[in-house]
């Protein structure tokens, strides 16, 4: 990272006439610093500031996560089922272990244990590559299913495993394969030419590159070995979750309707949604489907003919036409206790009577006019995409940070093998260590937020 500039040596002096300034400077001390301590402190402070900017950089996305989760908890709960907790957990473990080896490496640099330092750095690198390998499996699997950001989201619950499509995993693996081959060739050439230093650098790098494929293999075993039950259970869980959620929010809605009418009004955007989910749950349980609801009928048909792939309901309900909502509303409102819905329905009728598509919309509380309470049709196309947008943004930016970390760690590895560090000069190892811990820490937050909280 650029902040490790503090470590640069003074071989770049433009002006020779001022060498007198550096008469007692050791080679690792930059010309403008007075003492190694000053240099170390500057580097450390710089690194901490850089980490602050990193945290703020990620905080934007954490904010987006919080905002959208607060607006559409059901989408997040439903979509989180698509993430494989086991893969996430393994990656968490791998990163935690790499943080440990990194911290140990800093200690070794201080104690001038050069061999140990190099091997610990190599271990950290291997862990990073395993992490990326597992990530490659996760990403390629989701791309295959069409679980993509909002605008590209193509997941079809009726056909969750589309045939064909590009082999995403091969695309991801290709650059790593090229790198591996390159490193192996380098090792062989260096070995033949008897370049000891190059051999010493290339040897650990071969392991590092191979560990990416180790990660891919690990991911494949977990993903493919358990896919049938795993997905089955996941999808069933999703349906249960939805049904539960539907009931839950139904109960909430009941509360609202017993409360004052205004409250019910303000909430009706949510309520409406949970109602559609109610109806979904009913369909799922095999009750009489509504004939006017072609898509729901479709879903029911798929279920009856092919019970094996249990269909996840949530994404289906996200793409339904608005006219369905009104039908569902009407049916639900026929229950005399459902006064809130009746209000809603009469409001809608009044509206459509006023003029078709007229936009007068009756709501008294101005301050609640947020995106969450707007007319449903603006929320219509592929709601689930928002979850995956945030998922890809956060994990993607995190993966870029891992890649950057890999680059810096390789640089450190080379310098460690060159035995550049000593008890007075171990700053770069320390700074990269801090950076690595931060990257690890961010994952520690990402894992529960994305995979676990449901």
């Amino acid at each position: 990272m650029a902040t490790t500039d503090a470590g640069h040596t003074s071989d770049v002096h433009v002006h020779e006439g001022h060498d007198s300034h550096d008469h007692d400077h050791p080679s690792y001390l930059a010309h403008h610093f007075d003492t190694p301590e000053q240099q170390f402190d500057s580097g450390k402070l710089g690194m901490w500031l850089f980490l602050v900017t990193e945290i703020l950089f990620f905080s934007g996305m954490f904010c987006a996560y919080a905002i959208f989760r607060a607006w559409r908890p059901e989408v997040f709960e439903g979509c989180s089922q698509f993430l494989n907790t086991k893969l996430g957990a393994i990656n968490t473990g791998v990163l935690l272990f790499s943080s440990f080896t990194m911290a140990w490496a800093v200690r070794c640099a201080q104690l001038e244990e050069h061999k140990k330092l190099a091997s610990l750095l190599a271990t950290t690198l291997c862990c990073a590559m395993v992490f990326l390998g597992v990530k490659a499996i996760e990403y390629s699997h989701k791309w295959h299913l069409g679980l993509l950001p909002a605008g590209l989201f193509t997941y079809d619950p009726a056909n969750p495993h589309p045939e064909g499509g590009p082999n995403y995993l091969a695309y991801i693996c290709a650059p790593f394969a090229v790198a591996t081959i390159g490193v192996v060739i380098w090792l062989v050439v260096a070995f033949i030419r008897d370049a000891k230093f190059q051999v010493a650098v290339a040897k650990p790098l071969v392991f590092v590159c191979l560990s990416f494929f180790g990660g891919v293999g690990l991911g494949m075993i977990l993903e493919s070995g358990e896919t049938p039950e795993h997905h089955g259970s996941d999808h069933v869980a999703a349906v249960h979750g939805d049904a539960e959620h539907g009931e839950h929010s139904g109960a909430e809605h009941g509360d609202a309707e017993h409360g004052d009418a205004e409250h019910g009004d303000a909430e009706h955007g949510d309520a409406e949604h949970s109602d559609t989910e109610d109806s979904e749950a009913e369909h799922g349980e095999g009750q009489q489907g509504d004939a006017t609801d072609p898509e729901a009928a479709d879903v029911a048909e798929v279920e009856s003919t092919d019970p094996q792939p249990v269909v996840l309901q949530d994404p289906g309900s996200m793409m339904r036409d608005e006219s369905d909502d009104l039908v569902v509303l009407e049916r639900l409102a026929s229950d005399a206790t459902n006064t809130g819905l009746q209000d809603e329905l009469s409001a809608r009728r009044a509206q459509s009577q006023l003029s078709e598509g007229a936009i007068t919309y009756d709501r008294t509380d101005d301050s609640s006019a947020t995106i969450a309470s707007t007319d449903d049709n603006v929320l219509r196309p592929s709601r689930a995409g928002v979850f995956f947008s945030i998922y890809y943004c956060m994990t993607g930016v995190h993966a870029i940070h891992i890649l950057a970390g890999v680059g810096v760690l390789i640089w450190l590895l080379v310098r460690a093998i060159r035995q550049d560090f000593n008890r007075n000069y171990f700053g770069p190892v320390d700074y990269v260590g801090l950076y690595w811990h931060l990257v690890d820490l961010i994952w520690i937050y990402l894992f529960p937020l994305m995979y676990l909280i449901r």
Binding site: A2, T53, G151, I371, G385
Partner: protein
């Protein structure tokens, strides 16, 4: 003591002129020695040239805007030459692109790097008494990031322009077919340039202070730079992620900001202003620092209320993070949020007011020289006071409902950004010009430029307050005929302002060709940069500087024979190593 005399028992200490080998400008030759330099002074000078070019471009665009608004149906871009230049574009489109690029270039390429990166890079280590900034390579890379960002903006301009306004509001920016991605990538890169500069200054000021330079013996310019750097480091990453999400929104439709995919455009505004409001203080805080120096040095009087000014800079930096919502008073935030943001907005005005009062108190009973920098400083106080006070109309919720997004806002922030930052920047350039390049400019020419800029500026923007309160919305390419007379006044003012700015440029260029050699201390300043030669040597200080009180003018006297200020010290035989006045003043100042 009378002018030109040196009291007995004292001797003159003057570093004289640098030799060719010492002078940082001439000690190594060739374009490569500049391109790969790690010397903060040369990087500062490269920044100065860079931001000046950016300012020239954006300033010409501003003249284009004003000339177009000469007539209610538009004038300049209706001319047939523009149909020939850009046959695909309607005059309105050209106008929209011009004001967008004017704003974006001014903000991202000029104002934000102007004082911190150009003047700051040159001055921070010298004022501090350090040899260089903490991370010289990072410093150079930050300059090249600035260049890369500028290249992206030029590419955006050449590709299909940019018509989103510098604020990139969604969903307009996600749906327009202009080169939003190129421009946002440019702004993203410039953000990192700004972060690196800020990070460098914080570390430099924290760890590179020489012995004797305590926090409260730092010149106020350093305090202001420190506060600015804090904002740069804390706010800019949020802009980075916002722009990244915007790019993702355009390429992948991630549905966070775009309502077509369930996103919320107002969330973008929150994200954007969380950076961009503090960025306003990135622009104005260093200007406060410059003015504190200018007023004190050219009044030859200790700055009044040093600690109040220093703390108020930090207070502004921190409070600036809490007020971004006042850009969205009409966007439909909840009532409570709106009222809280309004209340917080008022609190920011207090530390700004403190500074104005302190500067006036510094001038009181001073020994004022009406030099060019001082004239710029006086016009700064005049213009900034207007800019600050009209901010109250906008922070007040009821009146903001009427004034938001009208020319009143345009006039308000131009009074702060141009009347404040630009005038302070010019004042700073004129003040430190002898130090930076080692020549004196024509004093008369400099004063004329200051007066022209002052008059032209007021003529341009005072009418815009009235336009705004009468209901003229901003970013309009055409307008109702009843606004024409005020618009015409504003346009003539802009032309006068342009003349003034070109005049200032001419004065500086003339000085490079014909200027007298500058003495080490032409103004009588007491901060450390006046202790080294003009221009400073490569390593800034030949011997470790004696850190004294930055605002103690008692031992600086005018040498009328050689037309320079010199520092007088007790004769060396009396106290050979440690000058007597240093501990005395240190004790007086440090309380």
């Amino acid at each position: 003591m009378s002018a030109g005399s040196v009291p007995s028992g004292y001797e003159v200490s003057d570093p004289g002129f640098p030799t060719k080998e010492e002078n940082y400008l001439t000690n190594s030759k060739g374009i490569l020695s500049w391109m790969f330099t790690l010397d903060h002074k040369r990087i500062g000078m490269m920044y100065l040239v860079g931001v000046s070019v950016a300012f020239l471009v954006a300033g010409l665009l501003a003249l284009g805007i004003r000339l177009h608004l000469l007539a209610p149906d538009g004038w300049l871009f209706n001319q047939s030459i523009f149909q020939w230049l850009a046959p695909e574009k309607a005059p309105n489109d050209i106008y929209n692109q011009v004001f967008t690029l004017h704003g974006a270039i001014m903000v991202f390429l000029f104002i934000i790097p102007s004082v911190p990166a150009a003047l700051g890079n040159f001055l921070v280590p010298v004022m501090l008494g350090a040899k260089d900034v903490a991370f010289p390579r990072l410093n150079l890379s930050s300059f090249y990031l600035w260049v890369a960002g500028a290249v992206f903006f030029v590419m955006a301009l050449l590709a299909s322009g940019l018509d989103t306004g510098w604020t990139f509001y969604t969903p307009y920016s996600t749906t327009t077919d202009s080169s939003v991605i190129l421009a946002t990538t440019g702004a993203f890169i410039l953000g990192f340039s700004s972060i690196f500069t800020g990070l460098n200054f914080i570390v430099t000021i924290n760890t590179m202070r020489p012995p004797g330079m305590t926090w409260f013996r730092m010149p106020l310019f350093l305090w202001a730079t420190y506060a600015t750097s804090i904002i740069q480091v804390l706010a800019t990453p949020v802009l980075g992620i916002t722009l990244l999400l915007l790019i993702a929104e355009r390429t992948m439709h991630i549905g966070i900001f775009d309502p077509e995919y369930n996103g919320d455009p107002v969330t973008f505004q929150h994200f954007f202003w969380f950076y961009s409001h503090p960025a306003v203080y990135i622009m104005i805080l260093p200007a406060f620092g410059i003015i504190s120096e200018l007023i004190s040095v050219h009044s030859h009087k200790r700055i009044f209320g040093y600690r109040f000014i220093a703390y108020s800079s930090i207070a502004i930096a921190l409070l600036g993070f809490l007020v971004w919502g006042h850009h969205m008073f009409t966007a439909g935030m909840s009532q409570m949020t709106t009222i809280i943001f309004s209340a917080l907005t008022f609190t920011v005005s207090v530390p700004s007011a403190i500074k104005v009062f302190n500067w006036l108190a510094t001038m009181w009973k001073g020994s004022i020289s009406l030099t060019t920098p001082m004239m710029y400083a006086i016009s700064f106080i005049f213009l900034f006071t207007i800019g600050g006070l009209t901010g109250l109309h906008l922070g007040t919720l009821a009146t903001d409902q009427h004034l938001h997004d009208t020319y009143f806002v345009v006039a308000h922030f131009h009074y702060v950004m141009v009347g404040g930052t630009l005038v302070a920047f010019l004042g700073g350039v004129f003040h430190w010009w002898p130090k930076m390049v080692g020549v004196m400019y024509s004093e008369l020419g400099g004063r004329i430029s200051a007066v022209l800029v002052f008059l032209g500026f007021n003529l341009t923007f005072l009418p815009q307050f009235v336009l705004g309160s009468r209901g003229m919305p901003r970013r309009y390419a055409t307008y109702d005929p009843e606004f024409q007379s005020l618009h015409a006044m504003s346009t003539y003012g802009a032309l006068l302002l342009g003349v003034g700015l070109f005049f200032a440029l001419g004065v500086l260029i003339h000085s490079l060709l014909r200027g007298k050699r500058a003495p080490a201390n032409p103004w009588g300043g007491a901060t450390l940069e006046w202790n080294c030669t003009s221009p400073p040597p490569f390593y800034n200080f030949d011997r470790a500087p004696v850190v004294g009180d930055p605002y103690e003018f008692g031992d600086i006297v005018w040498d009328s024979v050689q037309e320079r200020y010199v520092k007088i010290e007790p004769k060396r035989e009396v106290v050979p190593e440690t000058p007597a006045e240093q501990p005395a003043h240190a004790g007086g100042k440090d309380e």
